[in-house]
């Protein structure tokens, strides 16, 4: 009978042993391969090492962190079979609104001129709340009005950007309190990385070991079966989108604390980078498949590529072209894997 698994490409046949190798192993190998590629080219073209430069590695991982935090939230959205296009604009909206509460008295305060210096957690909480609210609206629209996630979050993408611009009439906000900037520069400047890894670890556990995670996969795998299995899909989806919004708010706070200024134009295309990180990490756009660890590796791959091409002094235009090709290639690989699966009758 045709009930046995065949070996999928890139997977090691481990039929006899109970534990299989997680699919992240192959993505991790890709990351190593890309790093090695830059290392070798580095010696040939630039005449120096790519990997043994600590400050370069730090920059890579710092750049990855903000996108990475967003990508963790977006990953769970994609696992439910949805999509979130609003992340980039929501970053700007959260940043602008929260920034006006983070300014120190040494600077002219834009929206709240008479406000005293706030402890760092006030703007932080405001940023998180604005993000969560945006996520709630996304989730509510998707579940209650039944419009597709693509449209609901597209609407949020445009609206949130508009709010970000309107809030300060387009002027940037800077001059944050010392305590707030620590969110982006604390722990000897490693704070964004620490927050990113913490968020990734928490959601890795949530997705794998909690009921919330199991329900998320079930809804993405088959919403109708999930409903019959007693899962309240509407409430669950609203929670998922709220978490995505919340993490986007967190990413915004880390970003403005690091660069010490908030602008209405910031976060442009972040949503696509976050989706790309998830997709490169093996999260399936058709829902039900994917892991946080994959997304983290996917984000690292994006970061290494960006930094590597800059290191090799490849023009920025080429970088975008190559990045686009890699995203498409990742989806092709995903389709190919699924095709392999469904061919076995």
């Amino acid at each position: 009978m045709i009930t046995r698994t065949a070996t999928a490409p890139g997977e090691v046949p481990v039929m006899a042993s109970r534990k299989r190798l997680p699919p992240e192993v192959s993505i991790f190998l890709v990351l190593i391969g890309i790093a090695a590629f830059f290392e070798i080219l580095g010696w040939f073209i630039v005449g120096q090492s790519f990997l043994t430069n600590v400050s370069r590695l730090q920059i890579i991982i710092l750049q990855v962190s903000v996108i990475g935090i967003i990508a963790v939230g977006v990953t769970q959205v994609i696992i439910t079979g949805g999509i979130d296009l609003s992340s980039g604009s929501v970053v700007a909206m959260c940043a602008m609104i929260a920034a006006t509460f983070a300014q120190s008295s040494n600077w002219p305060k834009l929206i709240h001129p008479s406000l005293a210096d706030m402890p760092f957690f006030v703007p932080l909480m405001i940023g998180l709340a604005v993000g969560a609210l945006a996520g709630f609206i996304n989730g509510w629209l998707i579940t209650k009005t039944k419009i597709p996630p693509f449209i609901a979050t597209l609407g949020m993408m445009v609206t949130a950007r508009g709010i970000a611009r309107w809030y300060t009439d387009g002027s940037p906000v800077s001059g944050f309190t010392q305590s707030f900037t620590l969110l982006g520069n604390g722990l000897d400047r490693w704070m964004p990385v620490v927050i990113f890894l913490l968020v990734a670890a928490i959601f890795h556990i949530v997705m794998r070991y909690t009921r919330f995670g199991k329900f998320t996969y079930a809804i993405g795998a088959n919403p109708q079966a999930a409903r019959v299995s007693g899962i309240n899909i509407d409430t669950h989806l609203i929670k998922v989108y709220m978490i995505a919004g919340l993490l986007t708010g967190l990413a915004a706070m880390v970003a403005i604390a690091r660069i010490k200024t908030a602008q209405a134009g910031m976060g442009l295309m972040y949503e696509l980078d976050a989706i790309a990180a998830a997709v490169i990490g093996g999260v399936s756009l058709s829902g039900g498949r994917g892991r946080i660890t994959g997304t983290v590796i996917g984000a690292l791959i994006l970061g290494v590529m960006l930094s590597g091409f800059t290191f090799l002094r490849v023009d920025a235009y080429y970088q975008d072209i190559i990045k686009g090709c890699i995203i498409v290639a990742a989806v092709i690989v995903d389709q190919y894997r699924q095709g392999k699966r469904s061919k076995k009758t």
Binding site: R4, R18, K214, A218, N222, A226, I231, S284, S342
Partner: protein, 515 residues
């Protein structure tokens, strides 16, 4: 193809094969097909005479689908050859097979929902007017001509999405005939249509036979075999077993050939001491779908729900389970009236619901067996503070897997890779893990092989022994008659009668179901 040759192609007389030229219209000789790690077909042969219906029989996984896909050009055989009208052919793509005169009607119909009947039939071969645009009038005329010949009464301008499954099937058949196919492959064509529609389908099949077309017919239904098939071939575990004329064997012979073992008891119905009334339904109504449905089910009792497809049986089950909450009427469990407005509430009340459609509402195809089994018990059991007790659950699902004899290397296997019967067992395991007091089964053995069927039947009997109240919907008359203590028959949304086991027979049920 230009429009002139198309009209010519429509002329059936020119296409009727001459039986004296060759004995078999289609021959598959020593076909072999391997998938990584599995031999799906091992030296399989098949010979189909023109003007006959040749049925393929076998358990799920016997290799029927693989064989068909080779004939239809979807798979390439690793060995052996296909001969059409006596000469060997290569079929590298489905299109070459279609052009060579082999048409396949898939189980899941492959039509374009938002296009019309005529557009679907003539796609890629649309008649053109002199400006090179599609000539819709000509296309409509061609369609009507085709329909007349096949005795199909459909509007060529209707959109596919507005048609019933049976009518879509008619469109598929008409399309296949429009290619002047000599071989027509039908994969379980009656699995989703009503008895009346089956009769119409069989009339059309007989017409096609008379026109000299060889029909390869896959079915799990034994009575269809005797009604429509001239010959049949049996397959088991990827190997060819035997070919016989359907007049020379009995049903038991075929079952023996299919499973390779005697099935002594198809329906192990045992007398179970009935307990108190567990589920009591009064005047249950869902506006526009069914109304005034009333029945009681006792502990240990199996209530069969019979009726034609579309009579509202499955809707009653969905309403009981809160998928589509009732508009009026009451549901009582152990004498206490309850409100069931969502599946979540139904589960809390001790109900379990095995849905009709394994793929659509049952399986989580991308997930593994364990994840598929555990999903219904994550509401309170096995969850502490939001965290799932993995080890405990793993033991429970593994035990359930052993008990139901799910054939798999381990519980981390993706459910997509299991056969239909094993998938069904996984879904049953999901619900048994919730320890239900009331079990609603909608077509529990649809499309699964004879061996797995018998196992599921004896499992249902065991559950009845344990005092579970069972409501079972089935389109298979022998199953309803063999398993049920009482049978509620529905017709067009109303209950037309309740029969006791002793008085029930096929004729009485059909009488109530068809009115």
């Amino acid at each position: 193809m230009n429009s002139a040759s198309q009209v010519a192609a429509l002329d059936m007389n020119s296409a009727v094969p001459q039986p004296q030229d060759y004995e078999y219209v289609l021959e598959v000789i020593n076909a072999r097909k391997e998938f990584p790690g599995v031999v799906a077909l091992d030296d399989v042969s098949l010979r189909v005479r023109p003007g006959t219906v040749h049925a393929l029989m076998g358990e799920n996984g016997a290799g029927k689908s693989t064989l068909m896909k080779i004939i239809a050009g979807i798979y390439q055989p690793d060995g052996g050859e296909v001969r059409l009208r006596g000469s060997a052919v290569e079929l590298p793509t489905p299109l070459t097979a279609q052009e060579a005169g082999i048409a396949m009607i898939h189980q899941e119909l492959l039509l374009m929902d938002y296009m019309t009947v005529a557009e679907n039939i003539w796609i890629r071969r649309e008649p053109k007017n002199r400006f090179g645009f599609v000539d819709h009038d000509q296309m409509r005329r061609n369609t009507l001509e085709l329909f007349n010949r096949l005795n199909i009464n459909l509007d060529p301008d209707a959109e596919i999405r507005d048609l019933s499954v049976a009518n879509r099937q008619m469109v598929e058949i008409a399309k296949a005939v429009s290619f002047n196919s000599d071989v027509l492959i039908m994969d379980e064509p009656t699995s989703a249509i009503t008895e009346k529609e089956v009769a119409h389908l069989f009339d059309i099949i007989r017409d096609l036979k008379a026109q000299g077309i060889g029909i390869v017919y896959i079915t799990h239904k034994m009575n269809e075999l005797f009604e429509i098939a001239d010959e049949f071939s049996v397959f088991r575990d990827g190997r060819y077993i035997a070919t016989h004329a359907s007049t020379e064997v009995t049903r038991d012979d075929i079952i023996r050939m299919m499973v390779g073992r005697e099935i002594t008891q198809m329906f192990p119905k045992e007398d179970v001491a009935l307990g108190e009334v567990v589920l009591s339904v009064r005047n249950l109504t869902l506006n526009g779908v069914f109304r005034d449905i009333s029945f009681d089910v006792r502990a240990g009792e199996i209530l069969g729900l019979a009726g034609l497809v579309g009579s509202g049986r499955s809707n009653v089950a969905e309403t009981l389970f809160g998928v589509t909450p009732a508009d009026s009427g009451t549901i009582s469990i152990k004498g206490r009236e309850v409100s069931v407005s969502s599946p979540h509430e139904a589960i809390k009340l001790g109900m379990a619901f095995l849905t009709e459609d394994r793929k659509d509402t049952g399986c989580f195809l991308p997930l593994d067996i364990q994840e598929n089994i555990q999903v219904a018990v994550l509401h309170d059991q096995y969850v502490k503070g939001g965290f799932v007790s993995e080890a405990e659950l793993e033991n429970a699902s593994e035990e359930m897997g052993r008990k139901l004899r799910i054939k798999t290397p381990d519980m981390q296997e993706c459910i997509e890779n299991l056969s239909g019967g094993n998938q069904q067992k996984v879904l049953i395991a999901r619900w048994l893990l919730t320890n239900p007091g009331i079990l609603i089964l909608d077509e529990p053995t649809r499309g699964i092989d004879v061996g797995a069927k018998a196992e599921i039947h004896s499992l249902i009997t065991q559950l009845a022994h344990k005092g579970v109240a069972v409501v079972m919907i089935s389109s298979e008359m022998p199953e309803v008659l063999g398993m049920s203590d009482r049978i509620l028959v529905m017709h067009e949304g109303r209950a037309t009668g309740i029969l006791d086991r002793e008085e029930a027979d096929q004729v009485k049920i059909m009488d109530l179901a068809a009115q």
